[in-house]
Amino acid sequence: MTTVFGVPLPAILGQLMLGLVNGSFYALLSLGLAVIFGLLGVVNFAHGAFYMLGAFAAYIGLQAFGVNYWWALLLAPLAVGLLGIIIERLFLRHLYSIDPLYGLLLTFGMAWIAEGIMRGIYGASGKSYPVPHALQGGFNLGFMVLPIYRAWVVLASVTVCGVTWALIERTRLGAMLRAATENARLVQSFGINVPVLVTMTYGAGVALAALAGVLAAPVVQVSPLMGSSLVIVVFAVVVIGGMGSILGSIVSGLVLGLVEGLTKVVYPEASNIVVFVIMALVLIWRPSGLFGRE
C-alpha cells in the first residue's frame, strides 16, 4: 500500500475529504462573521448561537409544522435572520459609536441567554434531525464511502460562499455597502439609507449562520451547545483569514478544515488546537491575517 510519512494514502485521502466537509462549515460560518465585522465593525460573538438556533428552527419546523428539509433551508435562515434584524435595531445599533468591545460583550451575553433558554427547553443532549430522503446513502470513492449528504454540504456551502463574495465584490449593492463602511455620511448624502443597509447586512450575516445550522442539523446532534464549541474555532479562522476579508474567510475556512483533517490522522489529540497554533503563528508573522490589508 502506498504510504505518505507512514500513513496509508487512502487514509490521507479520506481525511482530506472529511476536512473539506468541515472546512465548508467553517467557511460558511466565518463568511457571515467576516461580512458583519467588515461592514459593521461588530465582533459578533452570538454567531455560534445563531448557528444553533438555525438548526433548532429546522428541528422545530419539522416536528411542529411538518416543514421539510428543503423548506427549512429557506425558512430557518429567514426566521433567524429576522431575529438578528430585531436585535440589531433594538440593541446593537446603539453601540456603533463606542468601543467595539461593547458589541462583543452584548453579543456574548446574548449567546449565553439563547443557549440557556434552549437548554432549559430541550436539555443538553439535544435532538436528532433525520437526513433528508433524497440525500441518504453514499458514494463509494474507493478509499472511503462519502455520504451523499456530506457531498451536498460541500456543494451548497461553496455555492453560497461564491454567491456572497460576488454580491459584495462585484455588484452595485456590494459597492454601496463597502462605500458605506468607508464613509457612511458621504454615502448617505447620495440619498442611500445607510442604517437600513447596515441592518440588512447584519440580518444577512446572521442568516448565513442559521443556514450553516440547518446544513449541520442532519450531521450532528442538534444541541444547545453545538454553537459554542464551534464559534471559537470560527473566530480563529476569521483572524487567520484577516478580519473582515470575505475571500480570506472562505479560503482559510476550507484550508483549515483540511489541516485539521490531516492532524486527526497524524496526532488526533492535537486536532482541536491545531487551528489556534496556526492562528498564533499567523498573528506573529502577519498580524492583519493572510488576506487582510495592513
Binding site: A124, Q221, E269
Partner: protein, 398 residues
C-alpha cells in the same frame, strides 16, 4: 462611630446565627454538571431526586431540618473542589454528592479527605476513585469503568466480537474506560487493533471513525459519554460503519438513547447500573420522578435518590452526623431499595451491586414511550467489579 459599631455588631450577630444554624441542620450538597454535556444525565433533575429522598424522610433527621445546596461545576475540577471547600468551611456541609466527570470527582474527593466530609460520587465513571485516588470518605455509587468494561466488553467478546478498535474521550474517564474494556477483551482471547483519542466535546467524529474502519476490527468500542457518544454513533451510522462493525457503547444513559432515537441506536449493547423498567419498584420510582420532570430517570438520577436515602438512614442509625461514624455505618449495612438488592460498600468505597447488560430495542420492539432496553444478562456485583477491594487503594493509617 456609633454607626460602624452597630454595623459591626449586626455582622457578628449574623455570623453567630449562621454558625448556630449549621449545627441545627443537616446540610447536603450537590455539585454536578448543571449546564454542560452531562447536564441531562444528572443535572437539575438529580436535584429533584435528592429532594424526593429528603421529602420521604419528612424533611428532617435527628430532629434537624435537612437543607440541600446545589452548584454547577461546569466540568472544571477547580470549580468543583473550591465549591466543596467553601461549603465545608462556611456552610457546615455534612455530605456532598455528585461530581459527574471523573476529573472533577477526583479533585472533589481530595477535598472530602482533607475536610472529612463524606463524598458520594455519582455520575463519574473512573474506577480510580476507589483505586489509586481512594479516600476514607469517598463512596462510588452507581457504576465504574471496571463494571462497564466487564459488562459490555464481556458480553460482546463472548458473542464472537474478538477484534476491537476504540474511539476514546481524551481524559481520565475515557482512558480508564478503554483500559477496563481492553483488559476484558484480552482476557477472553480477543485483540485490540488500535485506539484513537478524541478531545472532549468533539462534534465531528467522522475522521476518527474512518480510522477505526481502516483497522479492520469487528467491534467499534466507544469509550466516551453524553453528547460525545451521541455524535460518534450518529456519524458511524451515517458513514455506514455500523454495517461492517458492531458498535459497543461503554457508557450510555437512557437520555442518550432518547435523544438519538431507536432508529439510530437499535441493536446497541450497553451496560447500566439501573433501568427504570426493571421491576415494579423501579417503575414506581420512575412514575414519581416522571410526574416532576416529564422524563424517565437515568441510572444516576435513581442513584441520587438511593444514596441520599442511605446516607440519611445511616445518620439516623448512628444518631449523629459524625463523618467517621456515618462512613462506618454505610460500609457495614446492606443496601436494599429500588436501586440495589444486597448492595454493599466495599472497604475501598465502591458500592458493589448488580449491573445489567442491555440491548437497545428496534423501533418495532418498543411498545410504549421510553421502552428502550431489553435485558441480555444480569451481572452480579462481584462479577462486574471483582470480589476484592482494588489493591491500588491505600487508605491512610488512622
Amino acid at each position: 462611630m456609633l454607626k460602624s459599631a452597630t454595623a459591626l455588631c449586626a455582622l457578628c450577630l449574623s455570623a453567630l446565627s449562621a454558625a448556630y444554624a449549621a449545627g441545627d441542620q443537616v446540610v447536603i450538597g450537590d455539585i454536578d454538571d448543571m449546564s454542560g454535556v452531562y447536564a441531562d444525565v444528572g443535572g437539575v433533575n438529580a436535584v429533584e431526586s435528592i429532594n424526593m429522598a429528603i421529602a420521604d424522610f419528612g424533611g428532617t433527621v435527628l430532629g434537624k431540618k435537612i437543607v440541600l445546596l446545589s452548584a454547577d461545576h461546569q466540568n472544571k475540577p477547580d470549580i468543583g473542589a473550591s465549591k466543596f471547600r467553601e461549603w465545608a468551611d462556611q456552610s457546615g456541609v455534612n455530605m456532598v454528592l455528585g461530581g459527574s466527570n471523573t476529573g472533577v470527582s477526583i479533585a472533589m474527593s481530595k477535598v472530602a479527605a482533607a475536610k472529612k466530609v463524606p463524598f458520594i460520587a455519582i455520575g463519574a465513571g473512573g474506577s480510580s476513585l476507589t483505586g489509586a485516588d481512594c479516600t476514607p470518605y469517598t463512596i462510588h455509587y452507581v457504576y465504574d469503568t471496571t463494571a462497564l468494561g466487564n459488562g459490555t466488553a464481556g458480553a460482546i467478546v463472548k458473542e464472537g466480537g474478538k477484534t476491537w478498535f476504540f474511539v476514546t474521550a481524551d481524559y481520565a474517564f475515557g482512558t480508564q474506560l478503554q483500559d477496563a474494556a481492553s483488559k476484558v477483551v484480552l482476557a477472553n482471547g480477543g485483540k485490540v487493533l488500535g485506539a484513537v483519542r478524541a478531545p472532549l466535546g468533539t462534534t465531528d467524529y467522522s475522521s476518527f471513525l474512518l480510522q477505526a474502519q481502516a483497522s479492520g476490527a469487528q467491534v467499534l468500542g466507544l469509550a466516551n459519554a453524553g453528547t460525545d457518544f451521541e455524535n460518534s454513533l450518529k456519524a458511524a451510522d451515517e458513514f455506514g460503519i455500523t454495517k461492517t462493525m458492531k458498535p459497543a457503547a461503554l457508557l450510555v444513559f437512557i437520555t442518550d438513547i432518547h435523544a438519538l432515537t431507536l432508529q439510530t441506536a437499535q441493536g446497541l449493547y450497553l451496560t447500566t447500573g439501573w433501568y427504570w423498567d426493571l421491576n415494579d419498584e423501579t417503575r414506581a420510582f420512575a412514575k414519581r420522578f416522571f410526574a416532576k420532570t416529564s422524563k424517565e430517570p437515568t441510572m444516576d438520577q435513581a442513584g441520587y435518590y438511593s444514596s441520599t436515602t442511605q446516607y440519611l438512614k445511616a445518620v439516623k442509625a448512628v444518631n449523629s452526623t459524625d463523618p467517621d461514624l456515618v462512613m462506618a455505618e454505610l460500609k457495614k449495612t446492606k443496601i436494599n431499595d429500588m436501586f440495589a438488592k444486597n448492595g454493599y460498600v466495599r472497604a475501598d468505597g465502591l458500592m458493589v451491586h448488580t449491573m445489567y447488560v442491555m440491548k437497545v430495542k428496534t423501533p418495532a420492539e418498543s411498545k410504549y414511550p421510553w421502552d428502550y432496553y431489553k435485558l441480555v444478562r444480569t451481572v452480579p456485583g462481584e462479577e462486574a467489579d471483582g470480589t476484592q477491594p482494588d489493591p491500588a487503594c491505600v487508605m491512610p493509617k488512622k
